[in-house]
Every structure is written in C-alpha cells, then in structure tokens.
Symmetry: C2
Subunit: 217 residues, 2 copies
Amino acid sequence: MSEAPERTPLRQALRLLIIVEAGLARPRSAVEVVEAAIAGGARAIQLRNKGDTARELVAAGRRLTPLLRRAGALLFVNDRFDVALTLGADGVHLGPEDLPVATVRAVAPEGFLIGRSADDPRLARDSVADGADYIGCGTVFPTSTKSEAGDVIGVEGLRRVVRAVPVPVVGIGGITVERARAVAETGAAGIAVVSAVMRAPDPAAVVHSMLQRFQNS
Amino acid sequence: MSEAPERTPLRQALRLLIIVEAGLARPRSAVEVVEAAIAGGARAIQLRNKGDTARELVAAGRRLTPLLRRAGALLFVNDRFDVALTLGADGVHLGPEDLPVATVRAVAPEGFLIGRSADDPRLARDSVADGADYIGCGTVFPTSTKSEAGDVIGVEGLRRVVRAVPVPVVGIGGITVERARAVAETGAAGIAVVSAVMRAPDPAAVVHSMLQRFQNS
C-alpha cells in the first residue's frame, strides 16, 4: 500500500507485544481486539492461536496483515516459521519445543526477525549467539494463560536476563498495568501480554496505559 | 558425502513411499526400520511422526538424513514446510489442514517438491495447477492408521485421479502386498504405506515385494 508508514523499529515496537489468542478475545474477533490495540498504540503482534492448524493460522494472519501494515506494526508468528514465511510476516517466535534459532536463521530471508523464549541468562546469551533478535523472558508473575512458559522468575530473574544480552528483552507472564512499571525498571524493552489485552473490555485503553510505563525506554 | 549417488527421480522414487510413524515401529527405532526399507529398495520417505514438536521432528529427520543421502532416497516432511526447509529435505507433503500448495510454492526454493493429498480429480487438478509435484490419493482401502485421510474411494476412485493429472499419483490407505497389484493396474505411480512397513517383522522383504508390483511403471 502506498500510504503504508515505515516499519516500526524493533526495540520501539517491542514496548508492547500483543499475543493473539482468538479464543480469549471471544465473543469479539481477534481482528477487532487487535484493531483496538493498534489504535491504543501497539506496534507488535504475535499470532499464536494455539491449536490452530497451519491453514487456520494463515487465514487468521491474512485477516490481520492489512491493518498491521497500515500502522507499520510488526507481525510475528508463534512457532510456525513456515506460516510466517508464507504470510510475509516480520518474524517468528520460537519456544523450547519449536525449531532451534540457528536452524531458522540459516534459512531465513535477510532481515527476518527471530524471537526466542529464555528464562535464564545463559539460554538468552546462547539464543542471541544463534541469531535471535529479541528475547521473551518469563514467567515474570504467576499467570493462567501460559503455564508452559516455565517457572516464575520474578522481576529479579527478568533483570538478570536483561543484563545478559544486548538485544531487546520483553517480560512475559501475568503483567498487568499495575505491574508494568516494575517491569520497566528492570531495563526490559517492553512486555508481552495475552489475557491482559485479549480479555480487556477496553483493549485500546489498556494498551495506552501499558505503553506509558515504557515511554522513556 | 562424496560417494552419494544421484537423487532418485521423483516418479521412480514414488513407486513406494514409506511414511514414518516412529510410534508404530516400536520397539525398533524408526532409523532401523527405514534402514531395512532402504535395503529392500525404497527410495522415498515421508517423515510424519504425528504429535511430535517441530524440535522433535528436526531431531528425527537428522537421524534419517545420512542414510537417505547414501541411497539417493528422497525425504519429504509431512505438514511442516519449515522443518523440511531446515532439514534440507527434498519436499513437503501437504494435507487439507496444512499450508495451501500455492503459498508454499510461492516461497519454496527452486526444485523443492510439494505433494498434496487429494481424493478426487478436481482437487488433484487444482493442486497441480497450484504447483503440486505429486498427489497422494486415498483412502484406497479401509485402514486404521490414517482415519483423517477421508472416505474410502477404492481403486476406481484412485483411477479417476490418476487419469485427471499428469503428475505421479501414489495410492494410500490399507495397501498390502496382496493389494498392490490392483493399485498398480490403475496407472498409479506407486503406493504410500504406513503400518504395512512400520509394523512389518521384515520390512525389507515387504518393501521388496511391494516394489515388484510396480516394476514396470
């Protein structure tokens, strides 16, 4: 699209990473909630939709792509590098059961972004050495929506990871508006949220409030 | 490897496509069964291992790759185009819930092979128009191991698909040594098998017998 703005720089976009779980947005559509999040200032979206087939993920991604592009927002796909490729997404997010960072980096197009979940400094450093562009770090606070994210590491655990790597680190796990400032104080680039936005009665307002906590980072 | 033979041509390799389900091979390893299948003459392997994570698939694929390369056998990965890419596999096999053929073709490297499941002539023709290099067609006979493959279409249903497309068609679903000749008579390039080889006490012998039915195709 000719009116599309520049792609938001990674560190700036990662002040708030909205993880899309369509099931949690109901009865609203994921598109409706993401639209509101973008209106509130969000510029990074990760398509997760656990349980979706590859074909469903592609369809969901195609519904989101136009509005993300209009805003210069970044699109990441959870786990499925192939879905990210076919959507022309900006990157993929890889967890412990997903493809290794190094194997994706070896075949990814120039400029393709790779995020990696890491809850300790050593794994974070290794991931960056393998080619990760950012780290998703948690679980920072206890949460119900991503039990597979591992142990609760607290803001101190997050701080240790932030200090270990030069790339942006986003905290994840139970982060609410009230807790966002404590996360910002660790030096994290931003936060990743699932329920806090997917389930919010007013997603734009929540996004706006969360972003304010990271205004100076 | 310097001693590696030429890659087996697709149509010839597809005389027998061994679908790997490690769970069915137990207590033997998938590598052991595939090694026997290769010794029996098989030259096409599809890594399926339903339920495996991407990381597990990559590990399983890496265990198979050296022996396939030594034999000039083709490696396909079920569903996960990204796993196929990172393994340097020859191709991917796509079913109805997987990525669309056209979207994979648009981003796949030159020469990358795409198979597509299709149980009727129209879908088969559309798949070839989208860029599929071969068709997996079934369920030919009732079977327990791939209930998701759809209705039983019989050898007549297979014959209709074979006649509809210029690319190789492999029959799948309940095909035993006894039934292989009836499948060969449809003009199919070959057959795809799961249990018949994974569970065989002597996989090399089964493969050898099955291949004989397709000797002249």
